[in-house]
């Protein structure tokens, strides 16, 4: 980066900010600000992290698949079968799966079941606060096509319109063994290099945001939480 970093004050690099700016694309709260001040409000869009090539990426993928830290946000019914996973009987810890309380320290977000409108806002916020690379598992049939609550006025029908999903685990509730099988599938996908949900989110950011804003009518959060 430029020598500007050595100085104490933040002087934005105008070309870079221009490239990252969302001006004209989505209407953000800092849309009318001059380009030099936009950066103070973290207006950067997520950008695609190109994977490394060859053996390095294989090694990194192997490492990521062996240490999956799950965000401890029990969004719906599915949370009840996650607790037995952490006991000695099913023991997810030997697979490297443990729960973390904050999105900053977790890499897997398990959407446990149906998602109501209120929860969707918080899911989006938590998802965006997680750091790359991040994976999403949709647990139960409610994430696939709405499940039992398909005609409910408060639950959404397809979670992957709003955040990208890597693996779906069908069932109502899926047993802990089924959840472990789902994790196994996720690991295979990570090692094959197919679990690129975070990059997909960055590439199709406008589409996701438009879907989210159409559903969540009172969008009173900052648009970007990373």
């Amino acid at each position: 980066m430029s020598e500007a970093d050595d100085k104490q004050q933040f002087i934005p690099d105008v070309e870079e900010e221009e490239a990252r700016s969302t001006r004209g694309k989505i209407q953000l709260p800092n849309a009318d600000m001059p380009i030099e001040d936009e950066g103070r409000f973290c207006s950067a869009r997520p950008h695609v992290e190109a994977p490394f090539r060859g053996a390095i990426e294989k090694f990194l993928n192997w490492a990521r698949s062996q240490s999956l830290w799950v965000l401890g946000f029990g969004t719906g019914c599915g949370a009840i079968e996650l607790r037995p996973l952490m006991t000695a009987r099913f023991d997810a810890y030997r697979y490297g799966i443990q729960g973390r309380p904050t999105p900053r320290q977790s890499s897997v977000f398990i959407i446990g079941g149906y998602v109501s409108l209120k929860t969707l806002k918080r899911i989006i916020r938590s998802y965006e606060q997680m750091q790359n690379p991040k994976f999403v598992i949709g647990l139960g049939s409610c994430t696939i096509n709405g499940g039992m609550y398909w005609d409910s006025y408060n639950t959404i029908n397809r979670i992957d319109n709003y955040i990208p999903v890597d693996v779906y685990i069908a069932g109502c509730m899926p047993r802990p063994e089924a959840i472990l099988a789902g994790f196994k599938k996720l690991k295979e996908r990570i090692r094959a290099g197919e679990a690129e949900g975070a990059n997909e989110y960055a590439e199709h950011f406008d589409w996701y945001k438009e879907n989210q804003k159409r559903i969540v009518k009172d969008w009173d959060m900052p648009d970007y939480n990373w």
């Binding site: 409108l117 209120k118 806002k121 696939i144 096509n145 709405g146 398909w150 005609d151 409910s152 006025y153 408060n154 639950t155 959404i156 029908n157 397809r158 319109n161 879907n211 559903i215 969540v216 009518k217 009172d218």
Partner: protein
């Protein structure tokens, strides 16, 4: 409980007493005497526990029927007080001074049915819904399936098997619909 029901009839003009079981009875009361009736039941007859109160939408007659269910912990009996209010001007006197929990029920009824309880604390605050833009959802004219299809995108490929149609096809394939 029969003495209680006849006593209420003479004092408050309640109608349609129904003794459903030995420990459950329903009466109907007029709107402007209902809160007096409930206060009398709570203070003098020993029905101190408010179990719930909710509304049933009777759209064919254009009214909401509020049901207050009170329980007497000494005699272990329940009495349900039904109050009919108009559907267009849905408003009822608040009972939040009688029970501290009643304010929550009133908030929910305001949000789900649109029944106003003037004076109830925090009655306009949304209770369970967020980013809601339509009529109160528990009203019968609100079609939840149409709303869900309109607002939420479904995954293509869902088929519906209407059970009556399916059984008719299976059992009586020769008959016309």
């Amino acid at each position: 409980m029969e003495t209680l029901l006849s006593d209420l009839e003479s004092r408050f003009g309640t109608t349609e007493p129904r003794q459903q079981r030995a420990d459950l009875a329903f009466v109907r009361c007029e709107r402007n005497r209902a809160v007096d009736l409930i206060t009398h039941l709570r203070d003098r007859e020993g029905y101190t526990h408010l179990v719930f109160f909710t509304a049933v939408d009777i759209i064919e007659q254009g009214l909401f029927r509020l049901t207050y269910l009170l329980h007497n912990p000494e005699l272990h009996t329940d009495i349900g007080v039904e109050v009919d209010i108009d559907r267009e001007q849905a408003e009822m006197e608040s009972i939040h001074r009688l029970w501290a929990q009643a304010a929550t029920y009133q908030r929910e009824l305001k949000e789900m049915f649109g029944i106003d309880f003037p004076g109830s604390p925090r009655v306009d605050e949304p209770f369970v819904l967020e980013s809601w833009d339509d009529i109160p959802p528990m009203r019968r004219e609100f079609d939840t399936k149409a709303y869900s299809e309109h607002r939420f995108v479904a995954r293509p490929g869902r088929e519906t098997h209407e059970t009556t149609e399916h059984m008719k096809q299976k059992l009586y394939p020769e008959e016309e619909a």
